[in-house]
């Protein structure tokens, strides 16, 4: 990997009470690439990415050890405010979670408005909605409630909301798992385009999806990072037998 690494995880261990859900994981993600996290349910994929924007610690009784560096800065260093970390590391969730009391416009601009960020909101709105391929579908109904959009549109709105605050890294937790195949295809297409501007870490259960959209893949099993490498290599010539069993569908 010759590219500069945007995100570097060093010896990360994440606890729920006395159980370690992530055990001593180290990996790095180069800028403007997509890293897919795969693995069977309960292997710690979601926990892992929730450590990358310090969302894990919001659950009572949790604890994190190790470090996560963005451009060399440790998110877990003493005195770092998680609020500012989350403006640099955006997140899209498994289920579309638009704000139901807000219009489409307010949803996109929520991060800016609630953080008191000034600027040309109108052009940010249009630009963000164009980048998420929503503009043509919603430009005439920007003040309608966001819950009236379809599930796929809502998820693209959530992506628009996340990128409107201009994060550097975008985390996606199975963003297409609640969507139909057409909406899924649009999200995947979108990820390919967003890669130009952001570094993306995406959790997915769908191995074909990982192959289609990611540059690198990390396979997690029981909280451990089993194998991490270029996606092509993970899916064609994995080095670890357990990875091969998983990607060929023998378990999981």
């Amino acid at each position: 990997m010759s590219e500069r690494s945007k995100l570097e995880v060093r010896h990360l261990t994440a606890w729920f009470g006395k159980t370690a859900a992530i055990k001593d994981v180290s990996l790095s993600v180069p800028a403007h690439t997509v890293l897919a996290i795969i693995g069977p349910s309960g292997c710690g994929k979601s926990t892992f990415i929730r450590c990358l924007n310090r969302m894990h610690e919001l659950t009572a009784g949790t604890r994190v050890e190790g470090s996560v560096l963005i451009e060399g800065e440790d998110l877990y260093a003493r005195g770092v405010d998680p609020v500012f970390i989350r403006r640099r590391v955006g997140m899209v969730f498994q289920r579309p979670n638009v704000f139901p009391t807000m219009s489409i416009r307010e949803n996109v601009l929520a991060g800016l408005r609630l953080n008191g960020v000034r600027g040309d909101h109108a052009s940010i709105l249009e630009d963000t909605l164009r980048r998420t391929a929503l503009w043509d579908e919603v430009k005439d109904r920007l003040d309608e409630s966001a819950v009236r959009l379809s599930g796929g549109q809502q998820q693209r709105l959530c992506i628009a909301r996340a990128i409107a605050v201009e994060p550097e890294v975008l985390l996606m937790d199975e963003p297409a798992s609640a969507l139909d195949p057409i909406a899924t295809a649009r999200i995947e297409e979108l990820i390919g385009e967003l890669k130009q501007g952001y570094t993306i870490v995406i959790v997915t259960h769908n191995m074909q999806q990982a192959v289609r959209i990611s540059d690198d893949t990390a396979f997690f099993y029981l909280g451990e990072l089993v194998e991490h490498g270029p996606t092509k290599q993970i899916f064609t010539t994995p080095r670890v037998p357990r990875t091969e069993d998983y990607v060929t569908g023998k378990f999981g």
């Binding site: 924007n53 969302m55 919001l58 009572a60 609020v83 500012f84 970390i85 989350r86 403006r87 640099r88 955006g90 997140m91 969730f93 289920r95 979670n97 638009v98 704000f99 139901p100 009391t101 929520a110 991060g111 609630l114 953080n115 409630s145 819950v147 009236r148 959530c158 909301r161 996340a162 605050v165």
Partner: protein, 282 residues
């Protein structure tokens, strides 16, 4: 076949039983409405709703000052009770899992169970006695104390109904926790909280015991918080225990007025709650 017939019989029996119970349960409501409307409707007029009460021995007069007094004291009580109740509810929902939260919740429950006459005597001891006079302030204080625990618990429930996913969506945008609570969580729960506030106001408007020896009564218009103030409920009480037929009729009419006011608040609350449900899942 036989088992089907017996199941039908059981079904019919249970339906009839439930129907009868429902009808029986509705009898008190129906009789209240019937009695109050029959005895009160005749005496209600514009004069009755706007005039001052007539002196003893004279007929005529109305409950204008009592309506104003009730609205005034409920308003004063809301001014203090609503922010405190909602604030406590937000605290309980957002930070209420620690020992402090458990203590606050326990206290709210105990306070919610205190009989209103006891709250009234406390307001009397704390405000009326030191001020050497009955006052709207003392009445409003008693009503506010009654409002706080119900509002706190209702607000907590409404906030807990807001999906974690919305809170996380906001936090993940880098919005601070306090701003998330106010602008996302509270805003989403607002419809339910407004409903709870209206119900609390309706309940406060119907209280008599805490006003008896705090606000006392007043034969004249009063919107000064440091003066005795008339209220519909205390006025009903005074009219009802009097020996005069004219006053008895006025008691019924005042009761009907109060019933309409409280009913209007309840209907508004229901309408708001219904609208919220129609707008889709929160």
């Amino acid at each position: 076949m036989k088992s089907q017939r017996s199941r039908r019989a059981v079904d019919l029996f249970m339906t009839a039983l439930c129907g009868t119970c429902t009808a029986l349960a509705l009898i008190p409501l129906a009789s209240i409405l019937w009695l109050v409307v029959r005895n009160g409707a005749g005496a209600i007029s514009l004069t009755f709703l706007t005039a001052l009460p007539a002196p003893v021995g004279e007929t005529g007069g109305g409950v204008g000052n009592a309506i104003a007094g009730t609205l005034f004291m409920v308003g004063l009580a809301a001014l203090c009770g609503v922010p405190l109740g909602i604030g406590a509810g937000v605290f309980l929902a957002e930070r209420g899992d620690g020992p402090l939260g458990r203590t606050v919740r326990f206290c709210a429950e105990v306070l919610g169970g205190v009989p209103s006459i006891v709250v009234g005597i406390v307001a009397w001891g704390l405000i009326v006695v030191p001020m050497h006079r009955f006052s709207a302030l003392a009445g409003a204080a008693a009503l506010a104390i009654l409002m706080i625990p119900t509002l706190a618990r209702a607000t907590e429930e409404m906030i807990r109904l807001v999906p974690t996913a919305l809170r996380e969506a906001s936090l993940a945008l880098g919005v601070p926790a306090w701003r998330t609570s106010l602008s996302v969580v509270l805003r989403t729960a607002l419809g339910g909280i407004v409903t709870a506030v209206l119900l609390a106001l309706a309940r406060a408007a119907g209280e008599t015991a805490p006003l008896l020896f705090t606000a006392l009564n007043n034969q004249y218009w009063n919107l000064r918080p440091d003066q005795p103030t008339s209220s519909l409920t205390v006025q009903i009480y005074n009219y009802a225990i009097s020996p005069y037929d004219d006053w008895h009729q006025k008691a019924w009419a005042a009761a009907l007025t109060l019933l309409l006011m409280v009913g209007l608040l309840n209907l508004t609350a229901r309408w708001l709650a219904g609208g919220r449900m129609q707008r889709g899942p929160a």
